[in-house]
Amino acid sequence: MTTATHAAAPTVGDQGPDHLLAIAERVAGWASPGEEIEVYVARGDETDIRAYAGEVESLTSATSAGIGVRVVADHRLGFAWAGSLDESVLGETLAEARDNATFATPDEHVQLAVPDGVAAVDIELWDEQLASVPTTRKVELALALEAQARRADPRIRQVDHADYGDGSVEMALVSTTGIRSSSRKTSGYISVGVIAGDGDASQTAGGFSVGRGFDGLDPDKATDDAVTRAVRLLGATKGPSGRQTVVFDRRVATMVLSVVSTALSGEAVAKGRSFFAGRIGELVGDPVLTLVDDPTDPRAYGAAAYDAEGLACRRNVLIDGGVLRGFLYDTVSASRSGVASTGSAVRGGFSGTPAPGCRALTLAPGLEGFDENGVLAAVGEGLFVQSMTGVHSGVNPISGDFSVGAEGLMIRDGRLAEPVREITVASTLQRMLQSLAVVGADVEWLPGIAAGQTLAVDDMQISGI
């Protein structure tokens, strides 16, 4: 292998969306007659700091950049990517995508997005201040978080990790079919994991705070959350088996919604991989269930002006009063289904290709007063799940089978009671939607693709002793 010689990469700061747009436009300009090209270009900076035992355990600073090219010729799609924006790499990536296209099966639905006239919302996701925060302040925050967690409660015997992280990403998308979009986004987070001990027993929990930048990250919230959760699990025993109403903590509920969203993908539906297929207009859940994906809400962690094919993101109602109303589509899955794209393409950076997916899923909030305590009071008796494991191994969005490991606290007389661990909670996603008893009004925008809201689901099977 030889290393291509090339000019030194430009230093951080002299690039921006305009520079990326120029690169994308140039590559798209190399299209041959009879082919369509889409060029996605992105670059990002990140800082990650981990504190441990009063010192910086690690400090990572990094810049990355890359390109992803899709070529459609004769209804065949080819894709290639490279983790570099060097001049020599651009042409090589296009050539590779072109070559890959010759191997695909021709498919009339394979096409690139075409502007659809929907205007993108003006949404500010860039924190100007972040770039000027010196690394020393970030280090101080991580160290302070660790120290705070260590002294928060005498039962905290270890702080497993205390992290600070931030990132900024700029991207541009240009196609020969008329797409031209660019966007940029910053993010910041702190996260702390603690171990509480009482005799031989240990329990763990984490807490975090996220934002668009450095300011506003809240170490008190992160610490309180982690410590409260770990300490209240001390003394947990394996809980009893039986049928119970289960209340999902907001952080757990967002995981449940994320799994449900897989079945709302127009691609999964078109390919017969969704239990929602063929059920538009039918009652698929309790009437309390109204589910919307709205990336135009700037409060959402996954907020975005443009989708991953350069179309405007928009509000899509998926389930309304328990009735299934729609699915999420990108251009190809929409064509396959005979509908228009819902502007819902997502992709995993420059090395991924677009597919339909949620960005900002939320349930219409329940009655006022249904915060966590309100929901617990309404439920009376049951199990409160504060953390869930094995979602990837025990929840199948095609069959709907749902079986997860859980820890949490029993609910007695409408309040949290004794802690339990090493139990499973099981049902099917289909039944859970029908058995949705209470939706919290306590919407919290958590990292990920779905908001957190306390949820109560009736009649779930608990396996324990």
């Binding site: 230093t11 983790g83 570099s84 790499v89 079986s403 099981a426 608990i462």
Partner: protein, 465 residues
């Protein structure tokens, strides 16, 4: 990839502000993947990524920076960023020299076509079509098939201030088949994969038809499945069903990073009986062509075989450079990272239980009632509490010493140290399974293995009362 004098200058620059250790990890990786879905070859994708990660260790602190720019200027900039953690002022000038380059022979035919060659792409298509056809011929109820083939070539160069300079080449190929079967009871899924540290010569020993038929059989058998039981029952795990039990129940808990933070139930237990005497657990990165195999780990240390538990007695943990240095010992060859953009940490390679002496069929025959797990999916563990889950993807009820009805997917939950003591039978029919292990945001290929074995009691998280 980088000339030796450049490596030496970059290492010297990395220690310009002080520090105890500096390392350059350079990587050039080509990937290619193809997917057949819904009867069509939908996408061929190629990727290329190269760059270097530079690490500086100063006391308890690690500084890390990575760059896609492999010129001397680019590397020096990254070295400067990584060295920022060591601004003790006590550094002074230190000149680093490295030994002559040790090139490991890649464990594959390096003259064979790479993943991006036209011949390989053409071969891939025919493998995908054969798999699709074999799966669809397995039964009329097979309603959807997805087959994917991915391969990668990775060349690494690792140098550090202790004088190490080593190069290695790694080739990996993976083939997966996922099926959906549709019947009166809804949809069910089946999955099978093969993965080796080989190039396309893997297909000399792997039949894609067999993989496809196995995936189809799993989906079809579950159409008639009843809900899995809820509660504790004896469980027989088939040979090669996924040694993931050991990976989760104790492997992660034996990683020295968790141990040194007192965040593992196995801390301080070397020399103690932690498992049934039937358990001898080995982690071995040297097994020819297994998925978790490599020549040198991502810190330049040769792969080795490590006995972790010997007849139930804990003998050692898994170590990387940083953690072994703290303990004044040598690494066990378990320092791994996902790419040059990641810091190495302690990871498993191929982790397996040595076979026993019993007959697999006899173990089932001597189980009056229980669950037989033919295939496991993923799992997850909390190393601090030892609680873990693992999911079944093919399981049957055992009644009167015979397999009777198929069961729907469910998670099983247990506690590592408790489960290891409940192993009362191990057979001779050993087999390995490939998997992907995620830890702290990084994924690496691993192998898991075990023969048919019985656990006297595990909690099964089904919905049947």
């Amino acid at each position: 990839m980088i000339e030796t004098p450049v490596v030496e200058r970059v290492l010297s620059a990395a220690l310009q502000h002080g520090g105890d250790f500096a390392e350059v990890f350079a990587e050039d990786r080509s990937t290619s993947s193809a997917m057949l879905d819904d009867g069509r070859v939908e996408e061929l994708s190629s990727g290329r990524e190269r760059g270097a990660g530079i690490r500086v260790v100063s006391g308890e602190t690690t500084g890390f920076a990575h760059t896609a720019d492999l010129t001397e200027d680019g590397l020096l900039r990254a070295a400067e960023a990584a060295s920022a953690v060591a601004r003790s002022g006590a550094g002074g000038t230190r000149t680093v020299g490295v030994g002559s380059l040790t090139e490991r022979d890649g464990a594959f035919d390096s003259d064979a076509p790479g993943p991006r060659d036209a011949g390989s792409k053409g071969d891939t298509l025919s493998l995908l079509r054969r798999a699709d056809e074999a799966a669809r011929s397995s039964g009329d109820s097979i309603s959807q098939v997805q087959a994917a083939c991915g391969s990668s070539r990775r060349q690494v160069l690792i140098a550090n201030s202790d004088g190490l300079l080593v190069g290695d080449q790694q080739a990996r190929t993976r083939f997966t088949v996922s099926c959906v079967a549709t019947g009166d009871t809804g949809m069910q899924t089946g999955y099978e994969s093969a993965a080796r540290t080989l190039g396309f010569e893997m297909f000399d020993e792997v039949s894609v038809e067999e993989l496809a038929e196995m995936a189809a059989k799993r989906a079809l058998s579950k159409l008639a499945a009843r809900p899995a039981p809820s509660g504790e029952l004896p469980v027989v795990l088939a040979g090669g069903s996924g040694g993931i039990l050991f990976h989760e129940a104790c492997g992660h808990g034996l990683e020295a990073d968790h141990i040194l933070k007192d965040a593992s139930v196995y801390t301080g237990m070397v020399g103690q009986q932690v498992a049934s005497p039937l358990v001898t657990l080995v982690d071995d990165g040297t097994i020819s062509s297994e998925w978790g195999t490599f020549g040198v780990d991502d810190e330049g240390r040769p792969a080795q075989r490590n006995v972790l538990i010997d007849q139930g007695v804990l003998t050692d943990y898994l170590w990387d450079y940083l953690r072994s240095r703290k303990e004044g010992r040598v690494s066990s060859g378990n320092g791994r990272r996902q790419t040059y953009q990641h810091l190495p940490m302690v990871r498993m390679t191929n982790t397996f239980l040595l076979p026993g002496e019993e007959d697999a069929d006899e173990i089932v025959a001597q189980t009056p009632r229980g669950v037989y797990v033919a295939k496991l999916g993923g799992g997850q563990v909390n190393t601090t509490t030892g609680d873990f889950v693992f999911g079944t993807t093919e399981a049957y009820l055992i009644e009167g010493g015979k397999l009777t009805e198929p069961l729907r997917d469910a998670n099983l939950i247990g506690n590592g140290p408790e489960i290891l003591k409940r192993i009362d039978a191990v057979a001779t029919d050993f087999a390995m399974t490939p998997g992907t292990c995620g830890k702290d945001g990084q994924s690496v290929p691993v192998g898991c293995g075990q023969a048919t074995m019985r656990l006297t009691g595990v909690t099964i998280g089904g919905t049947a009362e």
